[in-house]
């Protein structure tokens, strides 16, 4: 597909929600449309002198859900934190190799991690709403990034974000209540709404359901399924069933290595590697 054709087709609109047209080369526009969202080449992460990831090569698709699975301590969470440079906040942590997002190396000196994290949102294992009201939790990101100039705009962002996170109906009458007053599942969806409100391109999820009960987990998975239409989602999960349910692509990590990466169906039905086979069938882990 030619870049023009893509633009014409309306699949790609280099226009911000505020109506600003973004200038860019045809080539870049083309790259954005068809290239993988992330290209990782020989990614290694060190904690002090220990190497936690041993040279990962992996492309993350522009659309859909990519699941990272593997036994505890295999480096899948570490790898996830590479994409929004959260490892920067850990003292002693060091990342080498190339991670290209839309063709740009995100570890380049000129890339600002603050800006990167606005584009790559993250949801954590344990829901971590700020000790503020539900409204302020969601409005926090838009406020710091200056996404709304008027009060009404901000209200709208909060409402649509909460709607997208499937939480609006539950909280619309109690936006002033503290975020911590919600149940665990609601808190996790609030945190997702908070991430969506910043308008990221990618949402990283680090075992988002591990602290939730089965019903809340089911709701969350439903939500992920809806969100994948609009965002590129990378999810780390302990539960193979969850990976099978929500993801289109699955990567299996073992001891800091990427063992196998393929369509989810292939991984679960026809794994090529013995280690993947053992993990899937519950022989290791």
């Amino acid at each position: 597909m030619e870049a023009n054709a893509i633009q014409d087709s309306g699949l790609f609109r280099p226009v911000t929600p505020g109506g600003e047209v973004i200038k860019m080369s045809e080539k870049r526009a083309h790259a954005l449309a068809v290239e993988p969202k992330f290209k990782c080449r020989d990614v290694r992460v060190f904690y002090g002198a220990t190497e936690a990831l041993h040279g990962i090569d992996m492309d993350i698709e522009n659309t859909g859900v990519t699941a990272l699975i593997g036994p505890s301590g295999c480096g899948k969470s570490t790898f996830l934190r590479v994409f929004n440079r959260m490892n920067d906040t850990i003292p002693n942590a060091r990342v080498t190799g190339d991670i290209l997002m839309d063709g740009e190396n995100i570890y380049d000196k000129k890339i600002d991690p603050v800006l990167l994290r606005a584009r790559v949102g993250m949801v954590f294992q344990k829901p971590n709403p700020f000790p503020k009201s539900i409204y302020d939790n969601v409005a926090y990101g838009p406020r710091i990034h200056g996404l709304a100039t008027k009060k009404n705009d901000l209200n709208e962002i909060v409402e649509t974000s909460l709607q997208k996170a499937g939480l609006w109906n539950e909280v619309k009458d109690r936006l002033k209540d503290p975020g911590t007053s919600l149940s665990g599942g609601q808190q996790q969806r609030l945190v997702i709404a908070r991430a969506i409100a910043v308008s990221p391109e990618v949402i990283l999820m680090d075992e988002p359901a591990s602290a939730l009960d089965p019903i809340a987990t089911a709701k969350l998975e439903e939500l992920i399924d809806e969100l994948k239409e609009k965002f590129c989602i990378v999810i780390v999960t302990h539960s193979m069933a969850q990976a099978a349910r929500v993801s289109q692509k699955t990567a299996f990590f073992h001891l800091g290595d990427l063992v196998e990466y393929d369509d989810t169906e292939v991984i679960f039905k026809n794994p090529k590697d013995q280690r993947t086979q053992d993990y899937i069938t519950g022989r290791t882990g």
Binding site: T89, V114, R117, M122, F124, K126, G141, R194
Partner: protein, 406 residues
């Protein structure tokens, strides 16, 4: 004399110990040489401790009672009384010690009682403080009405000493003292609160491990400097520096002023605020920081918009404790704030504080019953009540805050 008595007492107690232990060894084959046996309840040493305790307590008690009565019964009788009591103690031990005697349980009960009494000392101290302050203050308020003390605008305790001064109530109006105290506290907090908080923020959020390890002890040195040193620093260096600085702008400021004392006190309080706030900020869960960073917030945004509000109760607690510390601080103000009870709102003037007045009322020649010296206890009571209230509130807030994140 005292030394000899003490040595004698120690000798008697030692003898009792050896006596008790020896007796335990010698009473039949129940105690083996190693002190372990199937039948005896306690090790010989416990019998020794028991004997030492029994003889010791009896002797000390006898000596104490004898000492109280020495004038009526005479020294010889006292000596005989003590010797007889000690002897009786030995006889009782001789009767009691046998393999079935539960010497260890006795000794352990005594030990526990002694420990209990130790913890009682803390309570006694508080009672002592409250009772002495309240008692002396009541005597003061018999002479000066409470209302006059709390609302009077004139403080000149010296005049009350004069016999012919009938209407002395006007001289004990403590309002100028309270305003002076709060002004100096205000200046101190004005210096210490922002600097202390910023240091805490910098050390917990920005500084590398290495910087932290270097800077934290340096800041804590400030807390270890005795207050008399700060007072001298204020008097010798800071006061003249402020005066010189003001003179260069054409103002005249005395060397002893609220601003000199207050700012040096602020420096003293900095480590107090910074280390308490540091604890509080570190108690905010890392997940909140991660959540904020993951949304693309900068460190300062995370700090001011997420961590600071979350830590606010704890920080308020820390500030209250610092205020209590500032109000109770004595030496800096005694040396650098002046003694004149000015009712003024100008920090560049000399003011006086509660603690300064306590010191100046109670040092030098004094008769204990004059309103002048009793006034010091009334001021002490006010000081104690205010600091106690601040501490209780601060500790409650901090505790509640801790519970929230534990």
């Amino acid at each position: 004399m005292t030394l000899i008595s003490a040595a004698l007492l120690a000798a008697v107690i030692m003898a009792a110990f050896i006596f008790g232990r020896g007796l335990a060894f010698s009473r039949g084959g129940a105690f083996s040489a190693s002190g372990v046996s199937g039948r005896a309840h306690s090790l010989p040493a416990y019998h020794g401790y028991f004997a030492a305790w029994a003889v010791g307590v009896a002797t000390i008690l006898a000596a104490f009672i004898g000492w109280m009565l020495r004038d009526t019964i005479g020294f010889e009788v006292v000596a005989i009384l003590v010797i007889v009591t000690a002897g009786a103690g030995f006889v009782v031990c001789h009767q009691l010690i046998n393999p079935d005697f539960r010497a260890r349980n006795f000794v352990e009960t005594f030990v526990k009682m002694a420990l209990f009494l130790c913890s009682g000392v803390a309570v006694l101290t508080t009672f002592g403080i409250v009772l002495s302050l309240v008692f002396e203050s009541l005597r003061f308020f018999e002479q000066v009405p409470l209302l006059d003390f709390l609302t009077g605008l004139q403080w000149s305790p010296q005049t009350a000493l004069r016999e012919d001064q009938a209407g002395q109530s006007g001289a004990f109006g403590a309002v100028p003292i309270f305003t002076g105290t709060f002004m100096i506290m205000g200046v101190a907090m004005f210096v210490a609160a922002p600097i202390g908080l910023l240091i805490a923020v910098y050390l917990s959020e920005y500084a590398s491990k290495c910087t932290r390890a270097l800077v934290k002890p340096i800041i804590e040195i400030l807390a270890g400097v005795p207050t008399v040193v700060y007072g001298f620093f204020a008097l010798l260096t800071v006061g003249p520096a402020i005066r010189g600085f003001a003179e260069s702008f054409g103002f005249s400021v005395p060397t002893q002023s609220a601003i000199a004392a207050g700012s040096v006190m602020g420096v003293m309080i900095i480590p107090f605020i910074s280390s308490l706030s540091d604890d509080v900020i570190n108690a905010v869960p890392q997940t909140l920081r991660d959540g904020s960073y993951a949304l693309g917030a900068t460190r300062s945004e995370t700090m001011t918009k997420v961590i600071f509000p979350a830590a606010l109760p704890g920080i308020i607690g820390a500030l209250l404790l610092a205020i209590s510390r500032a109000i109770g601080e004595t030496m800096i103000v005694v040396m650098a704030a002046g003694r004149a009870a000015n009712l003024t709102g100008n920090p560049f003037e000399a003011v006086t504080t509660v603690t300064v007045q306590i010191v100046s009322l109670l040092t030098g020649d004094q008769e204990f019953d004059s309103a002048k010296t009793l006034a010091a206890f009334a001021l002490g009571l006010v000081l104690f009540v205010i600091t106690l209230a601040l501490n209780v509130v601060a500790l409650l807030i901090v505790r509640k805050y801790r519970e929230r994140y534990e």
